[in-house]
């Protein structure tokens, strides 16, 4: 997750966000460098070695 090897129980992205405490947070997700819309998170299964990005609002110029 976000470049750091992370052990999780979740088997899909929606469950992963819940497990990490981001279920209601303003975040967007990508799996293996591909955007996963919010509506597709529950149907997107996770496998060992997947790369997931969880991005949130930050300062920008």
């Amino acid at each position: 997750m976000n470049g750091t090897p992370t052990d999780v129980q979740a088997t899909d992205i929606a469950a992963l966000l819940s497990e990490l405490g981001y279920a209601d947070a303003p975040v967007a997700t990508a799996l293996n460098e591909t955007f996963v819309p919010a509506g597709s998170r529950a149907a997107t299964a996770l496998a060992a070695g997947d790369r997931i990005e969880i991005l949130a609002p930050r300062q920008g110029g």
């Binding site: 997750m1 976000n2 470049g3 750091t4 992370t6 990490l20 405490g21 981001y22 209601d24 947070a25 303003p26 975040v27 967007a28 997700t29 990508a30 460098e33 591909t34 955007f35 819309p37 919010a38 509506g39 990005e53 969880i54 991005l55 949130a56 609002p57 930050r58 300062q59 920008g60 110029g61």
Partner: protein, 323 residues
């Protein structure tokens, strides 16, 4: 000075801002993120009204329209590099800026420093009452930029995207080829693209053909504070695209440089470092607001043409013979 075609926004101003249009096309919740956090912001669905000090920046008869959305301030401000969130908020209030640029970055691991920092920052931005313009800062490829844009549209709930596709890490100048490709992909997908570009006329033409209705040429490299380093190029892009809103984005270090951009006929400026890294960011924000207002007024007032030799301003006729 204005070219022969006069103020570039004349045609825009005659169409007039419409509240209904603004509601339909504004940077509000028109993105696909209706089920996500985008439903709580960032736009109000109406005009970008900015903070309490915004009035007078873009007069009622001189609106700035960006993708059909009336924007009351011609000063757009970044949200990075301030000494504290409170200072950033104060700077926004005194700037009158109606548009804030933001980014997407990795959320912190649970329990670590920075966990849920996104929520805190998002709450702060929403409290400013401004529209957000998400960027794709740091992206070096078409794929990265396009993916980041999709993620930003969902999180921020806006079709607006400040498209940055960086070609060099030292100058942070755009990769023109990747920029055009990414702009075309995003415009075709319903994004309203604000491309960070150079003053190159051919590149500008390709971006317009790709669907960009706003262009944002740089004044100088990001964060350099060098001002408008290619006046000829900026005049040329203004003259070549009289009907396209043009925003000088990046490189502005001083209010006088922002005034100069508006005097040349540019529709707005976007800056961040010049305010955030000033010793007193809120005061500098107000200085920029005044400069942008002065520059726009000067442009609309049709500046005199410069000349090489002196021309007496006091009448010659009637001068006494005292020699």
């Amino acid at each position: 000075m204005p070219d022969a075609t006069g103020p570039s926004t004349t045609d825009v101003s005659t169409s007039g801002p419409s509240t209904a249009d603004a509601g339909a096309t504004g940077p509000g919740n028109t993105g696909p993120g209706a089920t996500g956090p985008g439903t709580t912001g960032p736009g109000t669905g109406g005009p970008c009204t900015g903070g309490p000090d915004a009035r007078g920046d873009s007069a009622a008869g001189d609106p700035l329209l960006l993708y059909g959305t009336p924007v009351v301030s011609r000063l757009m401000l970044g949200t990075a590099l301030y000494p504290s969130p409170a200072v950033m908020a104060a700077a926004f209030r005194r700037s009158g800026a109606a548009i804030a640029t933001v980014s997407l970055r990795r959320e912190g691991a649970p329990g670590a420093d920075g966990a849920r920092a996104g929520q805190a920052f998002w709450d702060l931005i929403r409290g400013l009452g401004v529209a957000v313009l998400p960027n794709t800062a740091g992206c070096h490829s078409v794929k990265e930029a396009v993916t980041t844009a999709h993620m930003a549209r969902e999180v921020f709930g806006t079709p607006w995207i400040k498209l940055e596709v960086i070609g060099r890490t030292d100058t942070l100048q755009p990769d023109p080829f990747a920029l055009v490709e990414a702009a075309r992909i995003l415009a075709d997908d319903g994004f309203q693209v604000f491309p960070y570009t150079t003053e190159d006329l051919v590149l500008a033409e390709k971006l317009v053909e790709a669907g960009c209705e706003v262009l944002m040429p740089w004044g100088a490299p990001i964060g350099s504070g060098l001002g408008l380093t290619n006046l000829y190029g900026l005049r040329a892009i203004r003259a070549t695209f009289p009907d396209v809103p043009l925003v000088v984005d990046a490189g502005i270090g001083l209010p006088s440089q922002a005034a100069q951009a508006l005097e040349l006929g540019f529709d707005a400026v976007l800056l961040n470092t010049a305010v955030a890294k000033a010793g007193d960011p809120p005061a500098m924000a107000e200085a920029f607001a005044a400069a942008v207002r002065a520059g726009r007024l000067a442009y609309l007032a049709d500046p005199m043409a410069p000349r090489d030799m002196a021309e007496p301003s006091t009448p010659v006729i009637g001068q006494a013979f005292l020699a």
